[in-house]
Symmetry: C2
Subunit: 639 residues, 2 copies
Amino acid sequence: MNKSEFSSHLKMNNVKINDAFWSGIIETVRKSVIPYQYLALQDKIEGAEKSYCIENFKKAAAVCEKIKSGGRPEVYPVDKWHYDESNADKNAFHGWVFQDSDVYKWIEAVGYTLMHHPDSELENKAKGFIKLICSAQLENGYLDTLYIINDRSKIFTNLKDHHELYCFGHLALGAVSFYRATGDRKLFDAACRFADLICDIFGKDKTEGYPGHEIAETALIRLYEETGLEKYLETAKCFIDRRGEKPYYFDKERGVTTSGEDYRYNQAHIPVREQKEAVGHAVRGVYLYSAMADAAKIYCDDELFSACKSIWKNIAERKIYITGGIGATVHGEAFSFDYDLPNDLAYAETCASIGLVSFAREMSKIEINSDYADVAERALYNTILSAMAPDGKSFFYVNPLEVLPVASKSDARKAHIKPVRQKWFGCACCPPNLARLFSSLEEYIFTENDNTLFINQYIGAQVNCDKADITITSDYTNSGKISVFVDMKTPFKLALRIPGWCDHFKLSESYEIRNGYAFITICKSTEIDIQFEMKTKLIKCSNRVRANIGKAAVMRGPFVYCVEEADNGKNLHLLRLDKEPDFRFDNGMIFAKGIREREDDRLYAEYTAPEYEKCVIKFIPYYKWGNRGENEMSVYIRM
Amino acid sequence: MNKSEFSSHLKMNNVKINDAFWSGIIETVRKSVIPYQYLALQDKIEGAEKSYCIENFKKAAAVCEKIKSGGRPEVYPVDKWHYDESNADKNAFHGWVFQDSDVYKWIEAVGYTLMHHPDSELENKAKGFIKLICSAQLENGYLDTLYIINDRSKIFTNLKDHHELYCFGHLALGAVSFYRATGDRKLFDAACRFADLICDIFGKDKTEGYPGHEIAETALIRLYEETGLEKYLETAKCFIDRRGEKPYYFDKERGVTTSGEDYRYNQAHIPVREQKEAVGHAVRGVYLYSAMADAAKIYCDDELFSACKSIWKNIAERKIYITGGIGATVHGEAFSFDYDLPNDLAYAETCASIGLVSFAREMSKIEINSDYADVAERALYNTILSAMAPDGKSFFYVNPLEVLPVASKSDARKAHIKPVRQKWFGCACCPPNLARLFSSLEEYIFTENDNTLFINQYIGAQVNCDKADITITSDYTNSGKISVFVDMKTPFKLALRIPGWCDHFKLSESYEIRNGYAFITICKSTEIDIQFEMKTKLIKCSNRVRANIGKAAVMRGPFVYCVEEADNGKNLHLLRLDKEPDFRFDNGMIFAKGIREREDDRLYAEYTAPEYEKCVIKFIPYYKWGNRGENEMSVYIRM
């Protein structure tokens, strides 16, 4: 590791986004998504699946009250991942084992929002939830409604499958965000009390456990940064270091001896420093890898960073969809094997791409390499953006690259592929995750170290840091033009990422290219004009990806494009793009020359060359698909 | 229906196969498969999954003994489809709920074998099993080891999921075969006693039940034919007619009210006469359709036949693989939607193709149309033949059209796709089904009515019927030459199927073509020479089958060919066949001109035309795939 390359990301209070493309989306989150989710958490959205989230906290608070008054609360089973109304007592916990995290993620998003948009009504709503949450915390700091409601005696007995440490993680992240925004310590203190308990049980030289679903690692590091308490950092490191060590903790917990193969799902099959490949549940994976990178930087741990790099390469070079989706299989919502990236069976969970953006940021803070921000951009402008409807009221959990509505309905293999966004899922990890990412987008744009400020994403913003006050005006997504007004405080270097997709660019200042960034020496206040050439490009996928042989995809700038039935008729697989497609970009759409194979219903016949007719093929950005009702969609098109 | 077209198939005792291609396979069944299965049924094959079949009969016999002597047998749960050693008491039933049927199918195959190859040792082995089976029958005729061992009080309470009527069906078919071959009535009488009980409970005007897994319908018709007892036929008809009627019997049985949508799996969602499409579990489907055709002919039931024709067309024109496999999805081992025929996810269970051959035969007995025998041929020479290893000791249950071994191992979506044949499955429906089909192949070759003898399959054989003694010498699979020596007894018409794949043929006699058959008037003893032109043909699949767009398959005669890694190297998807492939047939293999796309590991890059190198592409018959260890295989190849 080269410490001189280390950097930190600028925090919310240093950055204010003002961007033609993104501000509207962020406003949608603030004005629509957050209020919508406020109701959803309370099961007040008609026709949406029930969350049970707030209901569970109310039940847990009642249990705490009973315990305080010397009563003996009921005991219910804690043997499932999901407790629906038909299989759980009405007084018992309902919903998924990780249901608590939904409100924590909502509070995290609210915190980010409040930083730039003080809103006492919203703040009070959050405080209402926080009061309820704190009243559901046990005396010793423990806070997980499933176990508090159903069986206090079984706390922390199933780290592998249950989500107490996961819920703690989101509690802490929500608490830090809300505390930073409002100065209100109530939830932050509650999170620290739970963290203290976790350190007492799982800290250095204590029980050798670690989370089945990672996120507590990152959360403990955030609490360490906020409080300076070493024990939080140490426990995070224990959670990372113990993972996959033999004998397996998950074996001990279950009273069995296994080969550990099943723990690939949890990235706990081998010690993290030996992990070279992204495996298992994709969201868990990127949450872990993100924490590993975070810890590698703090501890300047070469070995840990080396594992992170191997895993990163494995994702970026073998296991990522062109849209930035990761986790190719529905079985275990998991990474599949190298180059296995089927379009029509993709899982590509929204949360996994959100975690990937976080992993990319942590890596970019260790090493100057534009690949990290390139991959984050791919995920952000395609899979992640696509996952939320323009009105912020429906969402994709799964992000396929090819959709045939009849298959989604008739073929159980594709039951997870929804042709239109869904209102709210009972398993609602994605919508609140989108809310917290979009409302903290400020923290994904810039990184800095002593002498350099890096612009990783071209989002219009005002930046205030020790080096300068900077105003970025960006037309990145449209014309590729960006202006950077630098009001210098002290000389420094400004490093501008040259996007991986860009072959030609113009810069109004002299620069030096290194590791994908153009470095400009700033010695005075100045205005820098950047022009990235926005060419529509035809992209091919490695022919080791079997699904894409003979096909290509279309990109323009950071956007992947796709064809939809609404523009091109049914049977998109019959389309072929001309070898010289003469792309024309017009009003957000791309038009190209193509041919359409004539339909042929006869199942088997002697081969004759297909017949074609000329057609114009119309592409829209991938993130806009599925907004015109159920219809076919495909990212790749035959050549 | 046109009664003048009705025909019957010639029975075992009228036909003796003597064929260069098939005799060896039938001998393998007799000399290797049947002895192997004799051991497998008794769990005496090392390394093979346990069957528990005979073990269950022993346990059931002990229960019967106990009941007779006034004892009270134990009670165990009957709530599962499978009872393995870890979840069942050691004295309880083990294996699949339909485990009994394995020995019945074995006895059926033994019966067929004994007809042409008397073998007292084998006959005695079968009699040993029969004695055991009969000792496991309850006084009232009931015979199903799961319920006899585990819980007598729950007999016939779960027709939907359990297989008592299915096991009865195979018992009766085995009993008829063994009785016809040996004259020994013991098992036949036992089957009739069970049939009597079934008629008492489920017959006309009795309980409105019907089987969850069809086969009893066909079996009851066979018993009717053998005994002349109308009640057997009537009960078969009840089982067909009641299916899918509202209120659903399966609902009543379960004490619920459903939309019936789930009963598509059992073809019981709507009445059979309203069924136009092949749906649900494919094996169950074709067993039902076969019985429907059988009954339609007996009752001269136009409406029922019309449903059979619609379903037939749906399979033959929308839902069959080029290899004759049916049932495209592993989910429910079921038919998928129209034109959904993925190569690498195919289920295409061996038993489903065996059932299809039976459905085809029943249809061909109602209507003169060579399509039926064409489809049967497709299934027989490809999927079914492929399912058994040359030594008869390993089998495919699932018959994919594309295999990548790493995917079978790493991708749960393809876990059902085995790259090599398996020794013996716990769920061993396919191997005994292959044994009974191959050893009764005689009954699938010829049909006749008053004035015509139809040759549906070109398998060398001696035929004795009222019209003539006929000797067929066939080199059908190799040169396409067949000689038919007719020693006439009375003038008749000989109808020779012109295979669907054949564009040109020569016949040494004058003929008239009708419905795909060449009709020759036989007025004297004669020798007819037939030459079907054996051209290697390139076949295209409807472009509504998305998996095959831009691809083609190779056939020669009845055989579909495929490419294997052993002949063509890894990454078969990189091969492309030349538009003028100059096919060369040599020693069973086909050689063709082609190109291979150069490998390109970079996941995403600007599009450039692929680079190719010339190569010779080598094809082998599909039925020979998977005999050289684990390797890639593909039926379709890019054009």
